[in-house]
Symmetry: C2
Subunit: 296 residues, 2 copies
């Protein structure tokens, strides 16, 4: 089965379109790297790029775009509302299909080494690729931003990068890591009582005692109560478990699910997991899906 | 989204491996045609070949394999248990993804015209591509087999082919048509009482008043009651409708579904339909599946 990795690098340029275009060319120039989305924000002065492909293609596309960004963005000049520490600020690798989280952490280490050795950029491993517990969360890694890291790296051992030199150049530093795919998923109730959505959100979300990989809040959308959620690891907290817990909790308040919606993309596996659970297809194998037999 | 058509030609040769290999080479020689399965039966003296690909690739692969079969199989000599009327006996086109039944019927007409004009083979359109109601069912088209058609074609207007000459050569005649994908799906009950499975099968199958595109029977498998089904058009009688009707009917006898199983392949769409129904994803679009964004 075709291996697919998603990569969502954030670049510290959201204003100069010609610079953004050159960075994107670094992605599209790599065979097998498919550009899916580009979001630029002038106030944040930041561009979020989403592309997918096989592990090697994604690794190469990430390196090429970071190489171009390092040559075109001077962090001594760069200003914007969004916290940042490097021309290429952060590069996460995300397993989509046929690859594990460990595979993506390994990709992060390989990319980090190249950025350090070939581009002389200090690299901090974060997320599932972090080498220290205090570097799992990106905001902790980025604390102080470019200027703060520039002034303390080399003197403060806590600032020692995983790869690259003990000094910051004009390209700054880059966080490279691995994380799970994020699914944005909303459930609408046949009710205009937002309090019920808030109670359900409180039950299902991790922060208040609910499911481990669920963030949730209750809101009112066009007069309809909605449980708005981020599923941060569908392989460990599946979509159908979330939906059935919301359904049960809603029934306790005399309310039903009217419909749900996906915001953005979802890996095929998340829907296959739901289909096989509801249909009780215990022995199901992904290669029983005809399209998965077509290979590359 | 990538267009996928399945083609399952039946050839009247199940004994001479060198002949079968040449016919298969006619399929694999076409770029974009993916060979999925080959089933040969010596007693039937018949080989069933399954391949998939884009419409044009599948059309060309079907023509090339039929051209080779016509040159290597002499229907005046061919004998076997399975009814047959041609070297290439029947060629169905099956919509899998991004193509309609009408698209497949059009493919059948285009192939039929080529077989008639270029190979001088009489072609009868059948199934969803049939030009006459009495030719929808293959057994009606094939009645009398090769010898019967050879002796009556030209004299009996009911035998006039849709394409090709009013006489049979050594390659015989070929039925070309379009049909829906067939899903073989079994549901196991937490019961050893086969009578319950038989009652449920009677309720859900079309022949006794049930769902239109369901064939079903109740059997005992390793001491467990099973409802064994063929779903002959999942786009019109969806998998989840079948499962939930079986579940409701089983409950009436105090029985639950223990698990289910797919025999062979299933188009991704059939599982996406089930997932989106159970998850109530009303506005879901197939291009929200990340893999579907990878194009070709």
């Amino acid at each position: 089965m075709q291996q697919i990795v998603e990569c969502v690098p954030n670049f510290s340029e959201g204003r100069r379109q010609e610079v953004i275009d050159e960075i994107l060319a670094g992605v599209t120039s790599v065979p097998g790297a498919h550009l899916l989305d580009v979001q630029s924000d002038g106030d944040h002065n930041r561009t979020v790029v989403t592309f997918v492909g096989g592990p090697e293609a994604v690794l190469e596309a990430a390196f090429q775009s970071a190489r171009i960004a390092a040559g075109l963005i001077d962090m001594n000049q760069q200003r914007g509302e969004h916290p940042r520490m490097g021309a290429t600020d952060v590069i996460p690798f995300i397993p989509v299909r046929g690859v594990s989280m460990d595979d993506c952490a390994q990709l992060a280490r390989r990319l980090g080494q190249r950025l350090g050795q070939e581009l002389d950029i200090p690299v901090y491993l974060y997320g599932q690729a972090a080498s220290r517990p205090e570097r799992v969360n990106l905001p902790d890694v980025r604390r102080g931003e470019y200027e703060g890291i520039r002034d303390s790296i080399g003197s403060d051992p806590a600032r020692d990068p995983d790869f690259g030199p003990l000094r910051l150049g004009s390209a700054g530093a880059t966080a490279v890591g691995a994380r799970a795919f994020l699914i944005a998923f909303n459930i609408y109730l046949n009710s205009d009582t937002v309090e019920i959505a808030k109670k359900i959100a409180k039950t299902v979300r991790h922060s208040s005692g609910g499911l481990r990989f669920v963030q949730a809040m209750g809101v009112l959308v066009d007069g309809q109560a909605q449980v708005s959620m981020n599923l941060t690891d569908f392989s460990r907290t599946p979509l159908h478990v979330v939906v059935e817990l919301v359904r049960r909790e809603a029934a306790r308040y005399g309310v039903l699910i009217s419909h749900s919606e996906l915001v953005g993309l979802i890996p095929q596996q998340a829907l296959l997991d739901a289909a096989t659970w509801y249909l009780q297809l215990d022995g199901f194998k992904p290669d029983q899906v005809l399209e998965n037999r077509l290979g590359e």
